[in-house]
């Protein structure tokens, strides 16, 4: 318990750091939100007034302190462009993104691990090579290309799935696959090398010497050991997902925070960009925390230290 408290404290510190860095970066950005709000035709006086009204003429640390204080109260600020609370904008779109991410994780794990295991068991054969070429392609293909390709083949030509939008399971399939393809490539390669490594360990030889059936050796002895490095990877992976989500949601018109972020970037809607960045940072920190908490359940050598 003390360990978890400690980890949570560290996580909070990381988030404070993230809030500071994002704030500083956007502060230094040449884009001026006041110009955007005021419009092209506004006079210098109007611009100054708005600037003052928003507190953007204050020194950097005063601005940050104000930002941080409202952050603590759960207020992510107001979008000048959309004229709405950032927190409610994000809250409205978060479920869709979480659904997409969950589906993406399922896709990448189910396909990635399966491919990796099959390749490891058939290593050196044509099957292995074919699978590894597939995974290499998956790793190298940009997500928007994969997305558009899937859209063209399965939605436009074959008509199996809707072209875009949100609502039914059919809507979910193509975006989830697009999001998961990259991870599938990574995980299959990782799983393959991890599994090959584990299969040549002494304890596998011991298990064989005991006369255990192949399947038992594989499921009970090899799998838990081979999966350990993967779990740590999933935690990190959630960060990768956040960038993937921006692309995928835009391609498929998926109403999640990725799309929100994309629109905000185009309009230099700084409060939204900062809000989304913070939410993704939370997701990454949480993902890593989860991975660290799950690992000791499988590997008894790693203890939660208090």
């Amino acid at each position: 318990m003390a360990y978890i408290a400690k980890r949570l404290l560290f996580s909070a510190l990381i988030l404070v750091g993230v809030s500071f860095i994002t704030f500083a970066l956007l502060y230094l950005l040449p884009a001026d939100p006041v110009r955007q709000i005021a419009g092209r035709s506004a006079t210098a006086q109007t611009v100054e007034n708005i600037r003052h009204q928003l507190g953007l003429d204050q020194p950097f640390f005063v601005q940050y302190a104000r930002y941080f204080w409202s952050l603590v109260q759960g207020d992510l600020g107001r979008s000048y462009v959309q004229r709405a609370e950032v927190s409610s904008l994000i809250a409205a779109r978060l479920p869709a993104s979480l659904l997409l991410m969950a589906a993406g994780i399922v896709v990448e794990l189910v396909f990635g691990l399966t491919l990796g295991i099959v390749a490891a068991l058939r290593r050196g054969t044509a099957t292995d090579q074919a699978l590894m070429i597939t995974s290499f392609t998956a790793v190298s293909a940009p997500q928007f290309v994969v997305g558009l390709l899937l859209l063209y083949v399965f939605a436009v030509e074959l008509g199996w799935f809707p072209i875009g939008g949100y609502g039914t399971f059919a809507h979910l399939v193509l975006p989830a696959v697009t999001l998961g393809v990259l991870g599938m490539g990574w995980y299959s390669r990782m799983m393959r090398s991890s599994m090959i490594e584990v299969l040549r360990q002494d304890y596998i030889r011991t298990a064989r010497a005991k006369g255990l059936p192949r399947l038992t050796i594989f499921v009970r002895h090899a799998m838990p050991n081979a999966i350990l490095p993967i779990i740590a990877m999933i935690g990190i992976d959630i960060g990768l997902f956040m960038s993937g989500i921006v692309v995928v949601e835009s391609v498929f018109g998926w109403p999640g925070i990725g799309q929100l972020a994309w629109q905000a970037i185009q309009r230099v809607d700084i409060p939204i960009i900062m809000g989304v960045t913070l939410v993704s940072a939370c997701a990454i920190v949480l993902g890593n925390l989860l991975a660290d908490l799950v690992t000791p359940l499988i590997d008894p050598r790693i203890k939660l230290r208090d």
Partner: protein, 582 residues
């Protein structure tokens, strides 16, 4: 009675396009209740023979001739489906590395019961009872509690017992033990070998013991099969082989075995100290705690150790794993922080500036245990040997090359091998390269940390010989660190015996080995297998408790041992009653 296991003309071949025989025409027969030792140096094919019996050969290796018969079943050519039920039931195997041979993520209980349930139609509860019985049989205390533990919670010796329990739970006809004690400390080795002998008699199984250690062979074998490069050199009763070896190779092998008490003892003259360590302590905290605070456990790896090494002198540090001997080497090399004084040739390592430290480093060089891991595989060996010269900016390129060529000749290599890479050399040659590298800076002291432990005995003998020659030629002092009492006896002028970070006894080799005063020293010496079957010392399985640990509460350093001079520079730690009993 028919033999339990028979091999007739067994031939193992690797590769298909360019086949190469790894084992050729090997034959032996093992009766029930008998111990057959397969003895030989690395690459002799002894482990492959064992794997062939188990049907666990690596994919690339095939049985291309002869046959193996277990009881009335011919094993060679048996399909996997028929072999699997035999494996672990009628023939079982234990391996060299107890640290890696158990699955780290499964409990001991799980690993034991699955072995039982793979061959017997029993329920969980019954398998559990059988597992407890098996642990009891290998004399593991608190067997029921061990079932819930994971391998990392047990010491190496305990893990090897678990392996034995697992292998013997189903009372196999034949047990193959592949170097079962090589990774263990001598006192533990003794217990494990005695245990194997006991259980063999109890179950009435045949035991095939694979070992490179002729001492172990002499202690436990009924019959010996000496192998070399995949061929049978000779086979016979153990007394026969040791007393009247027929083959030249066997004679050479036996001659190379280091024996205790055979070294010529000379009185050590008092020498000018090259190295003086005073009150050396190395401690480190186990868990980092929150930002370095709150750590509660501390390893007292080295605790108040003082010794001197004189010019042209060899001082050996001996002791079992975890006694702190290698930590001392690392402190001397400046690799771990320490407290106390290390004085090399009159200069205290602690109060030197950068240039002084560089100069000191030049005077103290190291040779490590593993000649495979301590040479960068991507560098030419000539460059590896020249590297210390380059680092210390000594000589021009041509001069350096000349010096390296000279060093190569010195250590018994040819200068035209300088442009080759480490993988082109054998283990012994690589250790010679490491020695040449250590010599490059003309050091005053060489710290040799288990430098011959990984080598075959014949190679080991030659490397030890080389070290002695170099000492004569260059007047180097050696700090020789080893767990192998017989080797230490061969090479040392003086010996310090360490236990739990402290010296328990120190003196000349003659004082320590011929007249050991401390109970721990005596126990260590008694545990060393004697390569003479007529002087067997192994009797019944004695079980020492768990080995004491140098890990203690942070503010609770172990009590300092007081060394008392019992005459002629022979120092012995005072023993309390409790310690003598431990």
């Amino acid at each position: 009675m028919p033999p339990a296991l028979v091999a007739e003309g067994l031939t193992l071949t690797v590769g298909r396009e360019r086949p190469r025989q790894l084992v050729s025409g090997l034959s032996f027969a093992l009766a029930k209740g008998e111990t057959l030792c397969l003895a030989g140096e690395s690459g002799s094919g002894k482990s492959l023979t064992a794997l062939a019996v188990m049907g666990l050969l690596p994919r690339a290796v095939r049985v291309t001739g002869g046959r193996i018969t277990l009881g009335d079943t011919e094993l060679t050519g048996l399909p996997e489906a028929a072999m699997r039920p035999i494996r672990g039931d009628r023939v079982a195997m234990i391996f060299q590395e107890p640290m890696t041979s158990l699955n780290p993520v499964l409990t001991i209980g799980r690993q034991l019961t699955e072995a039982i349930r793979a061959h017997r139609p029993v329920g969980r509860a019954e398998a559990r009872r059988a597992a407890i019985a098996a642990l009891d049989a290998v004399r593991i205390p608190e067997a029921a509690r061990r079932l819930e533990q994971h391998p990392h919670e047990l010491s190496g010796g305990m893990r090897q017992r678990v392996m034995i329990a697992m292998a013997l739970a189903l009372r196999p006809d034949v047990l193959i033990a592949d170097e079962p004690t090589t990774a263990l400390d001598v006192t533990v080795q003794r217990e494990v070998l005695a245990l194997l002998a006991d259980l063999k008699d109890e179950i009435g199984m045949g035991l095939v013991l694979i070992t490179h250690d002729m001492g172990v062979v002499a202690e436990v074998a009924d019959r010996v099969l000496v192998m070399r490069a995949g061929r049978q050199v000779e086979e016979g009763p153990v007394a026969e082989i040791f007393a009247r070896p027929a083959a030249d190779y066997t004679r050479a092998l036996l001659a190379a075995v280091p024996r205790m008490g055979t070294a010529a003892r000379a009185d050590a003259p008092k020498r000018r100290p090259v190295l003086a360590a005073t009150d050396l302590c190395v401690r480190y905290d186990l868990d980092s705690g929150v930002m370095g605070m709150g750590s509660r456990r501390r390893v007292f790896a080295v605790e108040g150790v003082s010794f001197e090494v004189g010019e042209r002198e060899t001082l050996s540090l001996v002791g079992e794993s975890g006694c702190g001997k290698s930590t001392i080497a690392r402190a001397l090399a400046g690799l771990v922080p320490y407290s106390g004084d290390i004085v090399v040739d009159g200069r205290n390592a602690a109060n030197l500036d950068r240039a002084g430290t560089m100069a000191l480093r030049r005077d103290v060089q190291m040779i490590f245990q593993d000649p495979f891991a301590s040479l960068d595989p991507r560098m030419k060996v000539g460059d590896l040997v020249a590297e210390p010269l380059t680092i210390h900016a000594l000589g021009s390129r041509a001069e350096r090359r000349e010096r390296v060529a000279d060093l190569f000749a010195r250590v018994g290599l040819s200068p035209d091998q300088m442009d080759r890479y480490p993988h082109e050399f054998s283990g012994g040659q690589r250790q010679r390269i490491c020695i040449a590298r250590a010599l490059a800076l003309r050091p005053k002291l060489i710290v040799a940390d288990e430098s011959v432990s990984a080598l075959d005995v014949s190679v080991q003998a030659r490397v030890l010989e080389l070290l002695k020659e170099l000492q004569e030629a260059f007047g180097i002092a050696y700090l020789f660190i080893s767990h192998d009492m017989a080797v230490v006896d061969q090479i040392s002028d003086r010996v310090a015996v360490m236990r739990l970070g402290q010296i328990v006894e120190m003196g000349t080799a003659a004082q320590v080995f011929d007249d050991p005063r401390h109970s721990y020293t005596r126990r260590l010496i008694e545990a060393v297998p004697i390569p003479d079957p007529s002087r067997r010392t192994f009797t019944g399985a004695r079980l020492a408790g768990e080995i004491a640990s140098p890990v203690r509460a942070r503010h609770d350093p172990p009590p300092r041992l007081l060394l008392r001079n019992v005459g002629g520079g022979h120092w012995v730690a005072e023993e309390s009653e409790a310690m003598a009993a431990a």
